[in-house]
Symmetry: C2
Subunit: 125 residues, 2 copies
Amino acid sequence: MSEKVKLSDQQYQIVETLCHLQGGSARDVLNNLPDQSLAYTTVATILTRLEKKGVLSSETVGRERVYTPEISVSEIKRSMVGGLISTLFKGDSKALLAHLVREGDVDPNELEDLRQLLDKKEEQE
Amino acid sequence: MSEKVKLSDQQYQIVETLCHLQGGSARDVLNNLPDQSLAYTTVATILTRLEKKGVLSSETVGRERVYTPEISVSEIKRSMVGGLISTLFKGDSKALLAHLVREGDVDPNELEDLRQLLDKKEEQE
DNA sequence: CTTTCTCCACTACAGGTGTAGTAGAATATC
DNA sequence: GATATTCTACTACACCTGTAGTGGAGAAAG
């Protein structure tokens, strides 16, 4: 299951790519990666390790090993954001909110806009 | 200077403690750490490594090595939150906001409260 | 002064990560 | 069928991190 997923940047990039592709081979991932400078074997290694971690599963199809994400991008994000909140803000997610606004990353006025946006979105669903 | 500071949980815990103490020895940090189960030498090792990284500086005072943070807790938080935003949300901090609300970590109604709170805080300053 | 305590520097070691090469098997191409 | 391509598995290696032991120097205690 989900639990605490903690991925490095590189690993996240690869899982995300795989999720967008909805599964695929190392070659597929490599071809769709934002950073094209990696060696094929590097991607393959990372995929293997991610599988060992339980984030992916794989299946041999013909000559290819096809990986399937066992977790959604949302879950990963939730888990990683959650980890940061627990480390930096003692588990208080509002403190992160406050931090974002205080640090000027987000304009306070945007909060209201955002709220309305989300309210609308909720209605639609 | 600041730049990209990336600390592990453990490292963050130690820097944060040191910041609260406004500097101190390994022993001081150990005594004030939430997690008391670490060995003295473990804390000392981490402090040494953090100094090598430039996050701390140190000075020998008598028999003790006294460490001083070279960066504030706020800066570390900003840097680490920023890193996560860039990894997970392509640098869009509002996307993180939206994520927090969508994932139910924060009630949409709280956004307004928060906004008002922050507006007040701004007035006070 | 001798014994004990405490601190620091150095060393150690396992596990994770980034990165990639090599070997061998399977496939595609000529 | 021989050759080139391509894929996986295995191996490698350096660096980071968590964790801590050891040895020696200095300070405190008796």
